[in-house]
């Protein structure tokens, strides 16, 4: 779920950019290290970024205006690690802002935080945890994709609530409000993305 261009006040836009910066900077360092050791990863990561972008243009059934790229980011974070995938996610968000007017430049920091960083770290953590606990693969995949989606949506609601606290209920009231409003699209979306990820992985394994 993208926050549109200019929606956050300047202080918040800057604040979230500052919050994202260390993750992206460390990710870029890891990326540079990786490319030095393994030049082939350059083209692979480029293609994965393209894939993540295009995946968000696959419309899921019955959900309008959806955007499915935590799925792509989750995929990538299992393959390349969450740090590098945070960077790839940030690049994808940049292209979405510039080529599709989806998201924005001033909200790039906030969106990167909720989608690229939280998305890839949570998907990766759930994947690892499921693996460690010995959960069935399909269940792990479903949880990783859908929970990281839900986390993104919760963080976005929090970001909006911090910027626009409720006159009566304050920040907590605003969180409830935004969670409620966007639940209509985001909860079904998270579920269908979980299912989609399971189906995709099974197709790929059978290949």
């Amino acid at each position: 779920m993208h926050i549109m261009e200019g929606y956050l006040p300047a202080t918040h836009a800057i604040g979230w950019s500052v919050a994202s910066l260390p993750f992206v900077a460390w990710g870029v360092k890891k990326l540079a290290d990786r490319l030095r050791d393994d030049p082939e990863a350059r083209l692979l990561l480029g293609a994965s970024g393209g894939f993540t972008f295009v995946l968000s243009a696959l419309k899921l059934p019955s959900v309008t205006g959806s955007c499915s790229h935590p799925t792509g980011i989750g995929f990538g974070s299992v393959l390349f690690g969450p740090w590098i995938m945070s960077v790839v996610g940030c690049v994808v968000l940049l292209f979405q802002a510039l080529l599709l007017a989806h998201g924005g430049l001033t909200t790039l920091g906030a969106n990167t935080f909720s989608m690229a960083i939280a998305g890839s770290f949570s998907a990766w953590a759930i994947w690892r945890a499921g693996w460690a606990v010995g959960l069935p693969l399909n269940l792990t995949l479903f949880l990783a994709a859908s929970l990281s989606d839900l986390l993104t949506y919760c963080i976005t609601s929090l970001q909006l609530a911090l910027a626009f606290p409720d006159p009566v209920g304050g920040i907590s009231g605003a969180v409830v409000k935004f969670l409620g409003v966007f639940a209509v699209t985001q909860v079904p979306l998270a579920i269908s993305e979980g299912l989609l990820t399971v189906l995709v992985m099974n197709l790929l394994r059978s290949h």
Binding site: H2, I3, M4, E5, G6, Y7, P9, A10, V28, L31, A32, L35, R42, L43, L44, G46, A47, S48, G49, G50, F51, F53, V54, L55, A57, L58, K59, L60, P61, G65, T71, V87, V92, L94, F95, A97, L98, L99, L100, A101, H102, G104, L105, T106, F164, D166, P167, V168, G169, G173, K177, F178, V181, S192, L196, L199, V200, L203, L204, H207
Partner: protein, 267 residues
Amino acid sequence: MPWASGGAGGRRDGTMLRAIDACAHTNRWHRHAGPVALFCAGLMACVLAAPPLVAGPLVWAVASVAAVVGARVPARLFFGSMLVPLGFLVTSALALCVTVGFEDGGLVFGLSAAGAMTALRAGLRAAGALAVTLCFACTVPTAGWMALLRRARVPEALLDLVMLVYRTLFVLDEARLGLMRALDNRMGFANARLALRSTARAAAALFLRSLQRAARLERGLAARGYVDRLPVLPPQAAASRGGWVLAVAVPVLVGAAAFVLAGALGA
């Protein structure tokens, strides 16, 4: 045709993907990345810093005129691209007009005039900022802003990634279109369950294609001497002293006007 897109699955995205990018490469300002970027940064600072009730509409108007009249961006493309973000704007503005409180352990809802005012400010600011970003997106080609990032010493690894993502996303988008059409032609989207399965097929196929693309590009570039660097020339930029002057002057004037007007109107 190279910009062919649309059809099953993401008509809107596919269309805009090609249209904004094509415009960025063909508009009157496509060789003036430096001044245009500065101009847009200045306008963006105005719309974020000045009182939004005045600065929002003012910056929206200036950015729109700059793009449509100055750079000759097709009006239909420019204003059409604003429709999608409007959906987000309306939904969250409605949320801002409603108040939610906790009383006696339960949720209490109400309508709020203060909330409506906040929504109005946020909406006008967002509209102004959106026009600025679109002005930038429609006038500065990717190679143009990448050259600016390179001069700003953004790490090489990140720029390589940006360049490769830019190239692959168009190649894979073409593949997405073909796959979705082929699935659609065999009734793959006849109902929601089939649609989910078909989307999964397309996604899995795209994933395999992206791996394959990387492997083939690796071999193709090796034939051109690729080992571990992807150096390219910066794009040719046109000299534009006047452009730099305008890029500074216009945002300064807009900012000043916004503060003065806002003071006069007491907004």
